[in-house]
Symmetry: C2
Subunit: 345 residues, 2 copies
DNA sequence: TTGTATGCGTTATCAA
DNA sequence: TTGATAACGCATACAA
């Protein structure tokens, strides 16, 4: 043991060296005011000298918390998820909580398994990010595993609607956002607006409904070739459109990458953006600034969703168990117009 | 307590209900083969009925590990960091380890503080991602805090070189990669290649040195206006070039976003890519596919760096303390040519 | 194969 | 202001 590391020094060692009881050491470490200045200094000196650090597991065992929140996302490599995790991590840090991160993928059995892993580590609460955890937005069997988890700790879902006791959700108003932008495209003179998405999740379905209602309000037919399910991948979307000829003069996409795929297609067949076709993306990611022209995109208020989630999480942990904390919060979206549309006011 | 949640059931409860000792319950839970099938079934039945889960803190206290690795990045909102975290999380999960994630920012005092937070949670090891943690790549005072942490647990640094006992590093061969691509640009007939970076980190300095050596080998002068320090932001780079007129026919950037900023500038002043100017990026991120034409970029072998890191981490935790595990691994980079260069073979 | 007893390192209660 | 001691819940060496 000459390398200096792995020197397990505990509260008894400190007590012995300082010639006090472990209770006094504990008081010093935790900043109790029931310690005389003299003994405090004495104990602090020893602690400093031997480099004592309290054992977090023992502390956790006694207090029944290690101030850790479990975060689950399908993949943190996705830009949207990454930003969500970043926001949440920063906010939780402010309150002295840390993040146990878990990437579950999209397969239901994996989600369940990973959720169990997180729970087994005795986290204080769970935050699930992404509409993939919400099934189709109801309280059906597909989200039973979330309600199961909520029997143990409070569960917060971002961007998905799940009903259940001890389950709190934060969503954005996707439907209105898509309806608004679709309506504005039509009013600006576009005759054939198409809708592209990569998912049938709760969130994607809300967007689709917004699109369909806007068409209905405008008295436009909802033909089959208005709706397209594609992969969330620039090249895949371009290839899809090249292989499946659809004529359109505006495209509403539920992901920025999909929108850029549309732009790539337009470029390859000689259509000008926005003169010949308008394109709108979703999430207002950094990618929206990478293409040319820059992509108009819907900002879904991610930062606000994260802030609200963490605030309510803290309220719940602070013991406001029950009705005082909002079960569901809806954040409005904002359309950020750039060069791929010309909607005017 | 009628809501079913927060029902603390421990090993003693199970033992009592199953009429066995806690040792037997423990054996069942941990899959020991020293249990008769009959008692196993009996105990499992009770566990199932009352929904018993072992307390992770108590387990951690006894075994002195909770199988958790601390991950530190400056910001997980950055695409490169996010992908690194994703890779690592997936790999660690295979070995039954979880990630405590911490975003430190770039300020030295914050890095130290956050590192302390991670250590205070009694993680089994630390992984620091990004050359920002490496200072200037030496063993100077600026990285003392890392060696300090390494006195407590093994520390793994990705993309940065730090010397120290119990410190393991994984880097990519940035210098060769930049030197190679610069050389090829010159050979393809470019007269004035410029270099753009956003940092003076260990990694950025290696890239700069590669650029300078390539110029030297080609017998080209290294005038001051060859090297440019800019912000890692598309618009900022475009604005910078518009305000600081430099003539160039090729640009080597240390981030994809910087390269795209150069493309935006070229577009705004009517320069064609790649006919008038060649542009190369770094990290081969998804953004490289978003611009038009698609961006040639250097793939820094992130996936391989992560794999190597986790493998060696496991080796160290498995008790191969010492010399058997490689202290430093260098991963080669690969140039991915797309539409912004025309280097040929 | 099963049970008993102890240690792991805290915090908190209660006396002094 | 300080100290002794009991939880906290588990794993495990040792005994039976």
């Amino acid at each position: 043991m000459e390398d200096g590391r792995n020197t397990p020094v505990n509260i008894y060692d400190i007590a012995e060296l300082a010639k006090v009881s472990i209770a006094t050491v504990s008081r010093v470490v935790n900043g109790s005011d029931k310690v005389s200045p003299a003994t405090r200094r004495k104990v602090e000196k020893i602690i400093e000298e031997v480099g004592y650090t309290p054992n977090a597991f023992a502390k956790g065992l006694g207090l029944n918390t290690m101030h850790t929140i479990g975060i689950m996302v399908p993949s943190v490599a996705d830009a949207f998820m990454a930003e969500a995790v970043y926001n949440i991590e920063q906010e939780l840090g402010q309150y002295g909580y840390d993040c146990l991160l878990n990437c579950s993928g999209f397969r239901p059995e994996d989600k369940k398994k990973k959720l169990e892993v997180l729970l087994s580590k005795h986290v204080d609460a769970l935050i699930l990010i992404g509409s993939t955890y919400a099934g189709h937005g109801n309280d059906g069997a597909e989200t039973d595993y979330i309600r199961g988890a909520a029997k143990r700790v409070p569960v917060f879902v971002i961007n998905g609607n799940v009903k259940g006791d001890n389950v709190f959700v934060t969503v954005c108003d996707d439907m209105s956002a898509v309806a608004d932008v679709t309506e504005r495209l039509v009013r600006s003179g576009r005759k054939k607006v198409i809708f592209l998405t990569d998912s049938r999740s709760y969130s994607a379905n809300k967007k689709r409904r917004g699109f369909e209602e806007a068409l209905a309000r405008a008295g436009l037919p909802l033909s089959e070739d208005r709706i397209h399910y594609v992969k969330n991948d620039i090249r895949a979307v371009r290839d899809y459109l090249e292989k499946n000829p659809v004529t359109f003069d505006a495209a509403v996409a539920t992901e920025d990458a999909i929108a850029i795929g549309v732009m790539k297609y337009a470029h390859s067949v000689g259509l000008r953006v926005p003169e010949d076709v308008s394109v709108t993306g979703y999430n207002n990611s950094r990618m929206a600034l990478a293409c040319e022209p820059e992509l108009s995109s819907i900002n879904n208020g991610l930062a606000k969703m994260c802030t609200s989630t963490v605030q309510r999480l803290m309220a719940v942990l602070d013991g406001e168990d029950g009705q005082t904390v909002e079960r569901k919060v809806v954040i409005p979206c904002a359309f950020v117009e750039r060069g791929t549309t010309a909607l005017g006011k």
